[in-house]
């Protein structure tokens, strides 16, 4: 398969000013390697603070990693500053918050037109492209939606405008950062199905960032589980879900309630406590302090090991 984007041992850290004299480093992403092929979706699953959002932003070069390599279509673009335009045209991102991700002072058609202007699409071609993008995301009748401002739309409609803007340039790589987490449960599937259709149509490589394993299951080919800035388990979606190795992955699977009337009689297998802060992560395995397997682990960080075809896990003991 043709690789679209590769992340090689990416580390993205932030400096936060605590006070005049004190700054702390947040190790949001701390050594992640990942590869997404054409037409494939990789889900990045993790809880808040796991670094999944930062990873997505790093992948589309909205933030700069402090080390590691970013390879896009075979070219190293880690330190590309100028000539970013051709990359921007091919890599897009959709944001979580449908209310803040659209400029309130622009109409729907202006919002979708902007990427076309920036990338020099001739004026006369734009209306038909905008129309097609709106049809793609099923905002119809097109003429009615074109003139609307974001505040006149519902959350789901806004998110569809966001998708239309992202795909209007026909990118080959798309990061979807929790695109449905702020949308009503009953319309989530609608957005995700739409999304899937578009991915197939444009054969995009997609990084789907979510905290929800259940949607990841339906809409991705691979799952990468993140914990404290690192990927702890990676593999084909069904393989990971059916044969989870890392105790954290297992817990994530256990805690998702299915539609089972017996749910109320069982206690879920959840690890007590909360993840440590990425400001001062523990040495070695980040999960050590909470690990239900207990026992002694070596003090070094566990490396990714392949335990089945394409199924990798970073755990000293796990299997």
């Amino acid at each position: 398969m043709e690789s679209i984007i590769e992340l090689d041992n990416i580390r993205t850290h932030f400096q936060i000013y605590k006070s005049l004299f004190k700054t702390v480093t947040v190790k949001a992403v701390d050594g992640v390697s990942l590869r997404i092929n054409k037409g494939e979706t990789v889900s990045i699953v993790g809880e808040s603070g796991s670094g999944k959002t930062t990873l997505g932003r790093t992948a589309v070069k909205l933030v700069e990693p402090i080390s590691g390599k970013l390879i896009f279509e075979g070219k190293d673009i880690t330190h590309l500053r100028k000539n970013l335009k051709s990359f921007r045209r091919k890599a897009q991102i959709i944001f979580q918050d449908p209310f803040m991700s659209l400029n309130p002072y622009m109409t729907v058609s202006q919002i979708i037109e902007e990427p076309l202007i920036i990338h020099g699409v001739p004026r006369e071609d734009r209306p038909s492209i905008i129309e097609r993008a709106l049809q793609d995301v099923r905002l119809m009748p097109v003429e009615e939606f074109k003139m609307k401002y974001p505040h006149m739309l519902s959350g789901g409609q806004r998110q569809r405008v966001g998708i239309a803007r992202a795909i209007v340039l026909e990118p080959i790589f798309l990061v979807a950062d929790e695109p449905v987490s702020m949308i009503d449960a009953s319309s989530r599937a609608e957005i995700l199905l739409l999304f899937e259709a578009l991915q197939k149509k444009y054969k995009m490589a997609v990084m789907y960032i979510t905290h929800d394993l259940a949607t990841a299951k339906y809409f991705s080919d691979y799952i990468a589980v993140m914990y404290l800035g690192r990927i702890v388990e990676y593999g084909p979606t069904l393989e990971v879900l059916q044969n989870p190795i890392h105790p954290y992955t297992r817990m994530l699977i256990d805690v998702v309630p299915d539609l089972d009337p017996q749910n109320r009689f069982i206690q879920r297998n959840v690890i007590p406590g909360e993840p440590p802060s990425p400001i001062n992560p523990p040495v070695g395995c980040g999960f050590k302090s909470r690990c239900p397997l207990g026992g002694e682990c070596p003090n070094d960080a566990p490396q990714m090991r392949e335990i089945a075809e394409g199924h990798m896990v970073a755990c000293h003991r796990g299997w």
Binding site: R57, F95, S101, I118
Partner: protein, 478 residues
């Protein structure tokens, strides 16, 4: 954008305060326009602070319209002028041209003072003599004052013209000659001998315009007086361009006068454009500076941000008025100094807010998505960040205007205003310093203050009308 603007305007126009504000503002602008076109720009130096210009006005007189409310009625100020002789006689080779006016005293009050002004007098031979006399309603006549026009200079050519630039001005109430004339009149009329100093004690106007009720006390004599200025000369072509008889009243004009006799109405009128200028100049410069620095600080970030932030934080914590006083005192109260000093202390507040707004907008997903699409910095600034802060900046511009007007008024009130330009604050300062409040000169205190409030509240109303436009949480979209 245009649709947005239309919607914003509709939102603005919905509030009743904004309508009131717009009406008020139109009035301020119309009056300012009228003033600047009809009054000279150097009105302050040429007229307002020139005491001679106001010498014919009554001092500290309330406005004329108070007569509607008080009784007995107060005497109105009268300026009677004539330029054509009422009669011409030839007596013993002299030509007597009589210029006369009649003055009707209708209330039980004496005129405050009596002035005579002669301008553009022309003579051809010997200097003529001018005689001022008055015919009282009871038939008695008094020759009050006589003087001879200055003789020609060397090499002066005929005709000799006098009193062109400045009129010949006789303040009769201060002339000793008048006292003598009145002393004569009293001995002739009442057979009483009074010394000139006793005459001064009684008051010239009392004797001229009154009737004796006791030894040294006079009551006003109502009726019509004829005031005559006689030009006695050799040549029939000699004449007076115009002569004016000023009979000081107790009330004056629309707004009354101050202690120097200045017509407060004209001063108040001139205050309009000045207030507008100070308000707008200060707020425009302040907002431009404050918003510019705020946007720069927020958008560029890094060391420049640090620097601007620290600096604005410190200046923002300055106690304003003491430093305003100090700086205007040291640099002198010129209008531009006041404006600059107000700007110097006004910008940081806006900078701090705009910076934080820019920061929050800068991190907003819609800016990030524009970045992700590949938008240039310029495009992000112009298309995404600036429109977010622009309405706020506009409303701050309007909100800062009244505070500039009020600050200038306060400085003026402390005596630090620009002495060459009359402002409402200065009128109040002069009034306060001369005890207007202790003497109850309300017409000197109320109107300037009310005008300051009026001009300030105009902008407050507009700013409040803009509030729902600027603050999206108050917006009622559907």
């Amino acid at each position: 954008m245009s649709l947005f603007l239309r919607e914003a305007l509709r939102e603005f126009w919905r509030g009743s305060l904004s309508k009131l504000g717009v009406i008020f503002l139109s009035i301020v602008i119309i009056v300012s326009f009228y003033t600047t076109t009809t009054m000279p720009l150097d009105y302050g130096t040429r007229f307002w602070s020139n005491p001679v210009f106001w010498v014919n006005n009554p001092k500290a007189a309330p406005p004329e319209w108070v007569n509607t409310f008080v009784s007995p009625k107060l005497l109105e100020h009268k300026v009677l002028s004539t330029s054509l002789p009422a009669s011409v006689d030839a007596v013993e080779g002299s030509i007597l041209k009589r210029y006369s006016v009649s003055y009707k005293l209708g209330v039980e009050q004496f005129p405050q003072f009596f002035n005579l002004e002669v301008s553009n007098l022309t003579y051809h031979e010997a200097p003529p003599t001018l005689i001022l006399s008055i015919l009282k309603p009871d038939g008695y006549s008094i020759d009050l004052y006589t003087f001879i026009v200055e003789r020609p200079f060397e090499n002066e050519s005929i005709p000799f013209i006098r009193y062109t630039l400045e009129p010949k001005r006789v303040l009769l109430s201060g002339e000793v000659q008048v006292a003598r004339a009145l002393s004569n009149f009293i001995s002739a009329r009442y057979g009483e001998l009074l010394s000139p100093s006793q005459i001064i004690d009684i008051g010239y106007e009392q004797i001229i315009f009154g009737e004796r009720s006791a030894l040294k006390s006079f009551t006003p004599l109502k009726g019509t007086y004829t005031l005559t200025l006689t030009l006695a000369s050799r040549n029939p072509n000699d004449n007076i361009g115009s002569c004016r008889f000023i009979l000081g009243g107790q009330v004056y004009g629309l707004m009354g006068t101050d202690l120097l006799g200045r017509d407060l109405f004209s001063g108040l009128l001139f205050g309009f454009p000045v207030a507008l200028l100070i308000g707008f100049a200060t707020s425009v410069i302040t907002t431009a500076l404050g918003a510019g620095l705020g946007i720069m600080s927020g958008y560029i970030g890094g060391r420049i941000d640090d620097l601007i932030q620290r600096f604005s934080d410190i200046v923002n914590n300055f106690p304003q008025l003491p430093l305003l006083i100090f700086l205007t005192f040291i640099f002198g109260g010129k209008l531009w100094v006041i404006v600059l000093v107000l700007v110097a202390f006004g910008w940081p507040g806006l900078t701090i807010i705009v910076r934080s707004m820019v920061l929050s907008v800068k991190g907003a997903p819609f800016v990030e998505s524009a970045l992700a699409v590949g938008a240039s910095r310029l495009r992000i600034m112009g298309r995404h960040i600036f429109p977010q802060v622009a309405p706020f900046i506009l409303s701050q511009l309007i909100f800062y205007t009244p505070s500039a007007i009020l600050s200038e008024a306060a400085l003026s009130f402390l005596g630090l205003g620009d002495p060459t330009i009359p402002t409402w604050g200065q009128i109040l300062e002069y009034g306060f310093r001369n005890g207007a409040v202790y003497l109850g000169y309300w017409w000197w205190i109320l109107p300037p203050g009310l005008l300051i409030i009026y001009s300030a509240i105009t902008f407050v109303f507009i700013a409040m009308g803009l509030e729902p436009v600027v603050n999206p949480r108050l917006r009622r979209w559907r």
